[in-house]
Symmetry: C2
Subunit: 219 residues, 2 copies
């Protein structure tokens, strides 16, 4: 591996952070604390499987389907492309067609979310999501994975289930909650590793990228 | 990156799994479930920061010290060496000297733990740990990180604090809870990504390795 710097595109986890409405909140508390005279500080964590930067597994929407532990590692390790989306409301097939997305790519969408939503303490309802039609377009291309820069690939009050269903049915694994604000569109190496939780509908993940070396082929 | 297969050296997380005595148990429960007619399955997670495969940060033993989110990514991404330990009780300086460990290496110890402890449902007290003297030896070498194949680098009833203190004081980041049972000693590329939890004494992590390419220099 080269010495090029990796860029963290995960959001830091902390108590009180924004979360999907109705989902469990992220909370860290101290079971013991050296500041109180304990021999070590040990924290307890409570969170939803879809907290912060995380991945969705087929088990999220399909009974008896694969949990997050079943994801092949090559799904989220390897060349990836950060695609800039201009549409202020949704990723749509018309805009996707301009980007010549290829079969089996790893695609991360950088939308206006990245510069906007992570600065707010409150949940943002009008984030840019992936339309049902765009999800079907990406499903046909059998992407290895698709990423988005807020907490869901589906809209808050539209296409939520349909977008997930189209992607997960086609075994397109979903990365949500990315912060792409410091990243330019282009070719990268991606590493996204979710926790391996048996049978889980999703799991928190750490995601990092680095600019692709000039000699690296795009796929 | 090459096409060589990555090997998962993380332990899968599931309810009832072995944990450090007194630490919070890992628990996954369903907040909603498609099998019960809900629109999607959403899980809630409760766990200790030192569950399963995880990392320790300086904040574990030092007040106002770095939390896990402050770990530089290069700490756990890059060339690493799996070193076989023959001693059935502890990693000791005498055995380490045979392995010519170099300044700044990433070292994962494969002990008799790997073939033994992860098969048991109960916590194993007599696991192989790193002696205080070996920790001081490794601290002087300023390893980037050190990994062990059970839940602590320190012993259950000896050297627990001393081993951690020696390593963390020297900014040697600690990976615990690895399963190296399927891995031979030798040179690898390592990726270990802990969740980025602000101010945390540790965090669950996903760790993977692949054999180092013959053309890769060892450091």
């Amino acid at each position: 591996m080269t010495e090029l710097d990796w860029i963290d595109i995960s959001v830091p986890l902390h108590t009180g952070m924004v979360h999907w409405p109705g989902d469990p909140e992220f909370c860290i508390s101290r079971q013991s604390d050296i500041q109180n005279g304990d021999p070590a500080t040990v924290s307890r964590l409570c969170l939803g499987a879809h907290s912060g930067t995380h991945m969705d597994a087929p088990a999220y929407f399909f009974p008896n389907a694969a949990g997050i532990e079943a994801m092949p590692l090559e799904t989220t390790i390897g060349p990836a492309r950060v695609v800039a989306i201009e549409d202020p409301a949704a990723v749509r097939p018309e805009e996707l067609e301009q980007h010549s997305i290829q079969y089996g790519e790893r695609i991360l969408f950088k939308t206006r979310n990245s510069g906007r939503v992570w600065k707010k303490k409150e949940f943002v309802q009008d984030y840019v999501s992936i339309s049902k039609e765009a999800a079907e377009y990406l499903a046909q291309l059998r992407l290895r994975c698709v990423g988005i820069d807020y907490l869901s690939v589906g809209g808050y009050d539209h296409d939520g289930a349909d977008t997930h269903l189209a992607l997960l049915r086609a075994r397109v694994w979903i990365i949500e909650g990315l912060d792409l604000s410091s990243v330019q569109p282009g070719d990268y190496d991606l590493i996204c590793l979710p926790l391996s939780i048996v049978g889980a509908d999703g799991a928190p993940a750490r995601a990092i990228i680095r600019p692709a070396a000039p000699t690296t082929s795009p796929l």
